[in-house]
Symmetry: C2
Subunit: 343 residues, 2 copies
Amino acid sequence: MESAIPAYLETMRTRHKRVPDDYEPPYPSFVARYKPAVSRVVMAYFGVQYRGETPLAVLTEIAGLLAGEDGPSHWDRAHYVDQSGYETIVTVAYWGDVARFDAWFAPAREAWTGKARDGIGTFIEVLRPTVARHETLFSSPDRPEGVAVIAEGMSGEVQEHAYWGGMRDRIPLSQTDAMAPGGAPELIRDGARLRVTAHDNLCLIRSGQDWSDTESSERKLYLDDVEPVLREGMDFLRDDGLGIGCYANRYMHVLAADGSASEKSYGQSWWKSLAALERWAESHPTHVKIFGAAMKYLSTLGPSAKLRLYHEVTVAAADEQFFEYRNCHPKTGMLAAVETVSA
Amino acid sequence: MESAIPAYLETMRTRHKRVPDDYEPPYPSFVARYKPAVSRVVMAYFGVQYRGETPLAVLTEIAGLLAGEDGPSHWDRAHYVDQSGYETIVTVAYWGDVARFDAWFAPAREAWTGKARDGIGTFIEVLRPTVARHETLFSSPDRPEGVAVIAEGMSGEVQEHAYWGGMRDRIPLSQTDAMAPGGAPELIRDGARLRVTAHDNLCLIRSGQDWSDTESSERKLYLDDVEPVLREGMDFLRDDGLGIGCYANRYMHVLAADGSASEKSYGQSWWKSLAALERWAESHPTHVKIFGAAMKYLSTLGPSAKLRLYHEVTVAAADEQFFEYRNCHPKTGMLAAVETVSA
């Protein structure tokens, strides 16, 4: 067993882990391991918002930008219908070299949010955290998703999971910092572009499930008993999350390379703080139901379960964030956090 | 809102609370407040183990002892049938003045475990923790139970509750100490008396429910939907708790003054550590089910719920404990923790 915090990010603690040193998790989990030379990762969400026909040309455009020089090491794409009935396709790109991202970003940004598109909104949401402000968790070590695809590999079994507080304990910065939020989101109007500056220690989670390997009764159990409860929780966060510190939530269906729906999904949400995310996960009725359904599923199936689960969580400093929206409705992403200011 | 830790027990922290200073619990809870002069409390469990007829004379005997000089400020009584089919009635007494307990205890102990009783076992389980090693929690401030009856009164609404880790954060010692367990329980044979010396930071919880004020549909919901799930969890701890650090568990039905069953119950259990209790409460399927049932109950009823909930938790130093059993079967109380040594 190893710590989720790699040895080179261990520091003299001023804050304790939530579990004793002899804690043994009841089942295995794994984390992404970057090369020690990777000091930051970049996760960039490029959204297109529309009604009706899928704007294939726009999707081709961003794919072309991502394929250019200094483009990301990996990207994937997902679809959802938001609370206002708009369809959204988000192309999510990951870099392990922030200098390459910086070289790539300025012209790509101009191309993506610098021009008007008839009936189509575009947005960019970027975090570029130091690795000390970021953690991942995987139920299996053999199929990375999201940011983990750009990692060097997976850890062995880690200690800090399967208890409330494990998420925080896996973030290296938690050794010395409570990661309290500082300030409030503000809107900046730049012509047709709307930018949001959020605040210190804004939190992002991408939490995914992959049921492509499940068969017969396990598949039925996931689709009939777990997915509807998960959807209900995702809907709550999307529609009523603001009151508990969730600025925005998207329950996304991952798209295959040909644009068809795959058998993977993820929830992606922006939070005022890691603490707010912890409180929802630990005690809100909607997540208690999700947790209960997942527990029942996993205890029914035991180690034979073929469902794959993962997440990635970042607590970003104020200067590690970028949010820009063009021609999007006012409840899109982080715009929802500043709507009253904007009104 | 106030801290569960009274001002006179606040110390310079070396360990952090699990929630930020601006945390606001979603519903009110209260804790017992002792007079600052109370440095220790004593909680003493006097058990009688039998089959068949209730040994009224023995119960009268302990009641007589408790009524003597320097007797407890409060006592109550409860009944259960244990895993070996023995009936047990435990008379639980509380002192707020350890000098009075000390003056009272020696002859009472002689009377209770110093003599043979035909077909009847007796036992004594005592903790005498400093108040810094102890916490309580009540859903309503107007009906103290257990140790809280000897307190001066109840707090106002406290901050440290309704999140995992609140129990630990309410114990004043948690400001500076991880309360890790040290050592293993050992058996001491003293003629017919069997004593157990446990170890540093042994943990005791008494966790109770009072449905006497519930009516019609609320009563039905508690008895049909919550109680069976609670019972299942209590049975798990009783029968299979050892593997997760629960030495012993009793799911007790409180007896009214006339010996009849009241509409109150509590679970009382001995744990290797506070951490082991935390792990069970937070992630074991049996308690996740209890938590889920309670959440559903409380969210269905809202503030109109008449069910009362409370608990008291102690993490005792090695020299604050006393366990003695006479003519009890080998799985009684803390004997279960040393059974293999005794065999």
